[in-house]
């Protein structure tokens, strides 16, 4: 029995390295452009370099382990490279791509590295179905999951990233689509800097410091993302700093310290989003006059909106704390909704006040605000607040059967009553 056990253990450990005598770098070196290099299952230590258009294809159990501080795999000055179905690990970066035109990274497992994938000065890049798990510890000691610098035409989709500094870091990139990714337990879910023409669609960001951090970026579209549980002292669902032209639509933004914050930004459209149970739903400082939040649903938030003196526009949103009525029956409240809150304004200046947000004195102050601010005309006022998340106009319908039964019962009652009197 013991012998069989030892034999099984032997095969268990040896099976990992059974093909380790295969020379990965040599196979890369002799491959002709366009060829596929199959890497058999096994653990291969080294710092591998690709400088020609080939496909590196692993199988179940293929692992490249980087040595020293160099990347496990470097792709340099080439075109049309594909890397798929490989596990990567190492001390520093798993994959570095520099000056590559046409790169596809698919089905990769990256673990225990400082930085997952680092792309720079490249174009036509597709990063798909990759799993990056950082090490334990504080994010300040880690690198990013996927980082792209000075590149263009990038697609990052279907990836799962956890426990890193920034899940997806994008700097000086032209035209990028980030979609169907999930980033958790990191500093920022996706961090855009100095980027133009960007889209973030159908992503899930949860339990990071901030879900979407967007800085110095122009022309960005954020749609159908779920941004939840960013409730640290400095946490935001989305933070836009120095951003021009952003559209934020159909997102679910819930349980964050601040749902969406805008600073020094202009032409921001926030439409048809669900803001649920955030401490503050929307915050704006130094934003342009044309910044607008319209047709959103605000439910269960402590503060709906706060801003500096400049404010921003609120148009046709649903607010669960709106107390007006709709005599005209058009689904729009008859009196404006005023979101101005003294405490909210103080919190903009001193974030530490957030710890008093649900205290009795603040609740009393907010109630007083709601009464006093009814005269407010300009700042954070929605003149057309919706009374329901979906307003349906019921047509006048007649149920003939019900009417006939009712008529019959009424006449029968009258007949019985009359009979009772006459008898």
């Amino acid at each position: 029995m013991k012998k069989i056990g030892f034999a099984l253990l032997f095969f268990l450990f040896m099976s990992q390295t059974v093909h380790a005598d295969f020379n990965v770098q040599e196979a890369i070196n002799i491959a002709k452009p366009g060829e596929v290099v199959h890497i058999p299952a096994g653990r291969y230590q080294g710092n591998f370099i690709v400088t020609k258009p080939i496909t590196l294809q692993g199988e179940e159990g293929t692992e490249l382990i980087g040595e020293r501080d160099n990347p496990s795999l470097r792709i340099e000055n080439t075109t049309n490279v594909t890397v798929e179905n490989i596990k990567l690990s190492g001390k520093n970066k798993a994959i570095v791509a520099n000056a590559v035109d046409g790169l596809e990274l698919r089905k990769l497992q990256i673990k225990d590295v400082h930085t997952g994938i680092h792309i720079q000065r490249s174009k036509n890049i597709r990063i798909q179905n990759i799993n990056v798990t950082g090490s334990e510890g504080h994010y300040s000691k880690k690198g990013n999951g996927v980082a792209v610098f000075k590149s263009e035409d990038i697609t990052i989709e279907g990836n799962t990233v956890e426990q890193v500094q920034d899940g997806i870091y994008v700097e000086e990139v032209k035209h990028i689509v980030v979609q169907h990714n999930k980033v958790t337990s990191s500093r920022y879910g996706t961090h855009f800097m100095y980027t133009t023409d960007a889209e973030a669609l159908f992503n899930t960001y949860a339990q990071n410091v901030t879900g979407l951090m967007i800085m110095m970026t122009t022309d960005i579209f954020l749609e159908n993302n779920i941004v939840a549980n960013h409730f640290d002292f400095n946490g935001y669902g989305m933070l836009l700093y120095d951003v021009q032209q952003a559209e934020i639509k159909h997102n679910t933004i819930k349980n964050n310290r601040t749902g969406v914050a805008m600073q020094k930004s202009s032409t921001i459209q926030i439409e048809t989003n669900d803001f649920q149970m955030n401490q503050t739903a929307i915050e704006g400082t130094k934003v342009s006059d044309d910044t607008m939040a319209s047709s959103n649903n605000f439910t269960g938030n402590i503060l709906t909106a706060r801003s500096d003196k400049q404010g921003f526009q609120l148009v046709s949103n649903y607010y669960d704390d709106y107390s007006g009525i709709d005599l005209k029956d058009n689904g729009i409240g008859d009196i404006p909704y005023v979101a101005v809150s003294s405490f909210g304004q103080w919190m903009v200046r001193q974030p530490v006040y957030q710890y008093f947000v649900a205290s009795p004195s603040v609740i009393l102050l907010t109630s007083l605000d709601q009464q006093i601010n009814k005269t407010e005309k300009n700042m954070l006022v929605d003149n057309t607040p919706k009374l329901a998340t979906k307003h349906v106009n019921e047509k006048t319908k007649m149920n003939v059967v019900q009417m006939l039964v009712g008529l019959f019962l009424t006449l029968s009652s009258l007949w019985l009553w009359k009979r009772g009197i006459t008898e």
Binding site: H138, Y139, E172, M215, M216, N234, Y236
Partner: protein
């Protein structure tokens, strides 16, 4: 004797009160410190800056560009001291006396490409290692065009 002791202590107290207040930089706490201007958390300590205000408060910055933006907006009147990390030694140095080097390809948290060093010699040494740059003094930073440069 007691009376004399009291007088001496009182004089010491008055003299201490009259002496100029000194300001020391404080340690960066990556878990909670965020840049006063851009809100980024401070994870690259080698580029961080801080201003010790006369009222005892500290404002923290992730990049010299953000620190300068704060000064441009609020003036220097309330500043007790301002510190920036020496990019080579990772030590706090005085913002007003530091030597700055700019190169658009130097990486900094905001990508402004300006790093601080404690002397001209250190700046020369930095440029030898990291690539040539333009030497700047504090006064030059007021007119500097912060942002990325192509």
């Amino acid at each position: 004797m007691k009376k004399w002791m009291m007088i001496v202590m009182l004089c010491c107290g008055v003299l201490m009160g009259c002496s100029e207040k000194t300001y020391e930089p404080r340690e960066i706490v990556s878990e909670t410190d965020v840049c006063k201007i851009c809100n980024m958390s401070i994870v690259h300590n080698a580029y961080a800056g801080q201003i010790a205000l006369k009222n005892g408060d500290y404002e923290i910055f992730d990049d010299i560009g953000c620190l300068m933006e704060y000064i441009e907006a609020n003036g220097e009147g309330e500043i007790g001291a301002a510190f920036i990390k020496d990019a080579a030694k990772n030590e706090w140095i005085d913002v007003f006396n530091a030597v700055y080097v700019y190169n658009k390809d130097y990486w900094t948290p905001m990508n402004y490409g300006v790093v601080a060093l404690d002397s001209k010699e250190a700046a020369q040494e930095w440029m030898t290692k990291e690539g040539e740059g333009q030497l700047l003094a504090y006064k030059d930073l007021h007119d500097f065009k912060w942002g990325i440069h192509k």
